[in-house]
Amino acid sequence: MKKLFLIFSVLFTVYSLQFTACFAAEPVSSDKLIENENFYDGKEVVYKGEAVGDLMKRGDHFWINILEGSNAIGIWCTLNMKNTIQITGDYGHKGDIMQVRGIFHKACKEHGGDLDIHAMEIFKLSPGQKTEDIIEPRKVIAAIVFSVAALAAGIFYFITKRRPL
C-alpha cells in the first residue's frame, strides 16, 4: 500500500509540475493575444519580448512597451520594477529582453480601453546592448559615384541654362 501511495504521489507531482510549467513558462505571442483577446481577457499570461522606447513614469507606476513579433504591448508596472529594465530598444540599441507575468486586458477599464498587461512580475531574460552603426562599403561607393555624377550634371545644367534656346 505504501508503494502504491508513493507511486501515486510521484505521478501526481510530475503531472502537477508539468502542468505548472506549461502554464507559467510558455509565453504567449502578441499576435495570439490580439487575435484571441476574448479568451485571454482578465487572465494571467506570460509575455516575452524586447523593451522598446521609453519608460514612462506615472505616479507609483510606469509604462513600458514590449515588442514581440510585429506588435508592442503596453505593460503597466509598479515603480519598484523599474530597475529591472536598463536598456530600451531604439535605432542605436537592442533593448533588454523581458519576461512578464501579468493580467491581460483586451480593453482596460483603468486605462481608457487600451489593450494592456498589468505586470505582477517582470524579469530580464537577457540584457540589451548598443548596436553598431555599420557602414556598408557599397553604400559609400554608391554615395560617391552618384554625388560626383550629380555635381557634373548640375554644373552642365547651369552652363547650358545661360545659352539661348
Binding site: W63, G74, Y91, K106, D114, L115, A143, L165
Partner: protein
C-alpha cells in the same frame, strides 16, 4: 478630335518634373542633417545616395527638357499627377535603403502614403528606425498635406499663368488670396504656426506622460506633422497608443480637427472673422456628420459590450471616429482589433466618416463636406421645384465664406467627383474580396486608402499581395488628387497612342 502630343508637350512636363525632383533633393537635406546631428552614419549615407540620385535625374531632365513652350491646362494637370508618382519614387530611395522595407514597392507605398497623407504603413520594425528616416516619413507627410505643388509654388516656381494651372490640378481650386503664390505662402504660414503650437502642446503632454523632454519634442513634431496634415504616421509601431495618455489624445484630436478645416476658414479666423466658423456650411455639416457617424459607431460599440463604461467607449469610439472623419488615421487600437473587437455597425460608422472626409482646400482627403452640401442642397432644390408652381424659379444658397447661389455646373462637378470616389472605394473593396478578405474589412481598408485616411483593420501588412499594394498606391494617388488630373494624365497617354498628329 484628340491630338497626339508633340515632343514640346513632353518637354514642358519633363521640365517641371525636373524642377520638382531637384526640390525633393533639397528637402531631403533636412533628414540628412538630422542623421548627422544624431550620429546616425549609415542612414546619413542612405540620404546622401537619395539626394544625389534626385539631383542627378532632376538636372538631366532640366537639361533634356528645355523648351520655349508655355505650360497649358493639360500640361499643368499632367505635371501635378506625375509629380506625386515621381516624388514617391525618389522619396522612397532613402526609405528602401534603410532596410525597414521588404521591397522597393513597399518603400514606394510608404512614400505615396506619406505624400498623399494617408498613413497606411508597410514599415518593418518601426521601433528601431533611425531619427533621420522617421523624420523623413513625417516630413513627406507635411509636404504632401500642403501639396507638393504648393511647396513648389512657394519656393521654386515663379508666379505666372502656369502656377494656377498646377494649383488647381492638386485638388485645390480655391484661391484664399488673389495671388496664387500668396495663397501658397499663406497655407505654409498657417501650417508652420500649427506645427510650432502642436509640437509644444504634444511635447509638454508627453513630458508629463513620462518621456524625456528632447524626445518629447521630436515625437511632438512628428505627430503634429501627421495630425495637422491628416496623415497618420507615428514614430512608433503602436501609433498613438504608445503614449498611453488621454491628454495626448485630446491635443491630437484638436490638431486633426484643425487639419480638416478649409484654409479659407483659417484665413477668416486669421483676420478675426470668428463668426464664419459657425456660419460656414462645411463646419455645420461636419458637426452633423460627426454626430451621425459617432451615433452609429457608439451604438455598435455599446452592443459589443467591450467597453465597460461610457467614458471608455467615448474615448475609444470618438477618437477613432475623428481620426477617420478628418482623414488622419492615428489610432490607439491594434489594426486587427477593428476586425476582432468592433462589430459591423461600428465599422460602418467609421467607413461612412472616412468616405465623407473633411473640408475642401484642407489637408484631408475623401469626398469632402462642400460637395456633400452642394448635392444635398441641389436635391432640396429639385424637390422644392416639384412642389412649387411650374413657373416658379427656386434658388438655393449656401454659405461658404460668402453666400453662394448653387448652379447646375457646380452640382454636376461635385456629383461626378463623389461618384468617382464611391466607385474607387468599391473597386479596392472588390480587389480585396478577390484576395479572400471579408467584404466589410476590404471596404474599410479600401476606403481608408482612397480617402487618404490610414486606419487599418489589418489587411495592410508587408506580406499582403503585391497587386493589392499597387491598387492601394493607385487609390491613394487618385484619391489625393481627386481624380481629374489622374484622368487627364491617362487621356494624355491614350492620345499619345491613338491621337492624330
Amino acid at each position: 478630335m484628340i491630338l497626339r502630343p508633340q515632343i514640346d508637350d513632353v518637354k514642358v512636363v519633363g521640365y517641371y518634373l525636373g524642377n520638382l525632383i531637384v526640390g525633393i533633393a533639397i528637402v531631403s537635406i533636412i533628414p540628412l542633417i538630422a542623421c548627422l546631428v544624431s550620429s546616425e552614419w549609415d542612414p546619413a549615407l542612405d540620404f546622401t545616395i537619395g539626394i544625389s540620385i534626385s539631383f542627378l535625374f532632376g538636372y538631366l531632365m532640366l537639361i533634356a527638357c528645355r523648351t520655349k513652350k508655355e505650360i497649358n491646362w493639360t500640361h499643368g494637370m499632367i505635371v501635378v499627377s506625375l509629380s506625386w508618382v515621381v516624388a514617391s519614387v525618389f522619396g522612397a530611395i532613402p526609405l528602401y535603403l534603410s532596410d525597414h522595407f521588404m521591397s522597393f514597392l513597399d518603400a514606394v507605398f510608404e512614400a505615396m502614403s506619406g505624400y498623399a497623407t494617408t498613413g497606411l504603413t508597410l514599415a518593418v520594425d518601426l521601433d528601431h528606425m533611425s531619427y533621420g528616416h522617421n523624420l523623413w516619413r513625417h516630413l513627406i507627410m507635411f509636404i504632401g498635406g500642403q501639396g507638393i505643388v504648393v511647396v513648389a509654388l512657394t519656393f521654386l516656381i515663379k508666379a505666372g499663368g502656369g502656377a494656377f494651372k498646377m494649383y488647381v490640378g492638386e485638388a485645390r481650386d480655391e484661391r484664399i488670396m488673389p495671388n496664387i503664390i500668396h495663397t501658397a505662402r499663406f497655407i505654409w504660414l498657417v501650417s508652420i504656426v500649427y506645427l510650432v503650437l502642436g509640437t509644444l502642446g504634444l511635447g509638454i503632454a508627453s513630458t508629463l506622460a513620462g518621456m524625456p523632454f528632447g524626445k518629447s519634442l521630436f515625437h511632438g513634431a512628428c505627430i503634429t506633422m501627421a495630425a495637422f496634415d491628416t496623415g497618420g504616421f507615428a514614430p512608433q509601431s503602436q501609433n498613438v497608443l504608445y503614449y498611453h495618455s488621454g491628454l495626448y489624445e485630446s491635443i491630437n484630436i484638436i490638431l486633426m480637427f484643425f487639419g480638416a478645416i478649409n484654409f479659407k476658414l483659417h484665413y477668416a479666423l486669421w483676420v478675426g472673422n470668428k463668426r464664419e466658423i459657425y456660419k460656414n456650411v462645411e463646419t455645420r455639416l461636419f458637426a452633423i456628420t460627426i454626430v451621425f457617424t459617432f451615433f452609429l459607431t457608439a451604438v455598435g460599440l455599446a452592443k459589443t459590450g467591450i467597453y465597460s463604461n461610457a467614458v471608455v467607449l467615448f474615448r475609444k469610439g470618438f477618437y477613432h471616429l475623428i481620426s477617420g472623419h478628418t482623414g488622419t488615421g492615428h489610432g490607439t487600437l491594434y489594426a486587427r482589433q477593428f476586425a476582432t473587437q468592433w462589430n459591423e455597425l461600428s465599422l460602418i460608422g467609421i467607413v461612412i466618416a472616412m468616405a465623407l472626409g473633411g473640408a475642401v482646400c484642407s489637408t484631408t482627403g475623401a469626398i469632402k463636406m462642400l460637395r456633400v452640401a452642394l448635392i444635398f442642397k441641389a436635391f432640396k432644390q429639385d424637390v422644392k421645384q416639384f412642389l412649387s408652381a411650374e413657373s416658379a424659379v427656386i434658388i438655393q444658397k449656401l454659405h461658404h465664406v460668402k453666400d453662394i447661389i448653387i448652379e447646375d455646373k457646380q452640382t454636376r462637378a461635385a456629383a461626378l467627383i463623389m461618384l468617382a470616389y464611391i466607385l474607387c472605394y468599391f473597386f479596392g473593396a472588390i480587389i480585396g474580396v478577390l484576395y479572400g478578405y471579408p467584404f466589410l474589412l476590404s471596404l474599410f481598408e479600401s476606403t481608408s486608402a482612397c480617402a487618404n485616411v490610414g486606419l487599418s483593420c489589418g489587411i495592410t501588412t508587408p506580406s499582403m499581395p503585391w497587386v493589392l499594394k499597387v491598387v492601394y498606391i493607385f487609390q491613394m494617388w487618385a484619391g489625393r488628387l481627386e481624380f481629374i488630373s489622374v484622368f487627364v494624365f491617362m487621356g494624355f497617354l491614350i492620345s499619345a497612342v491613338r491621337g492624330k498628329s
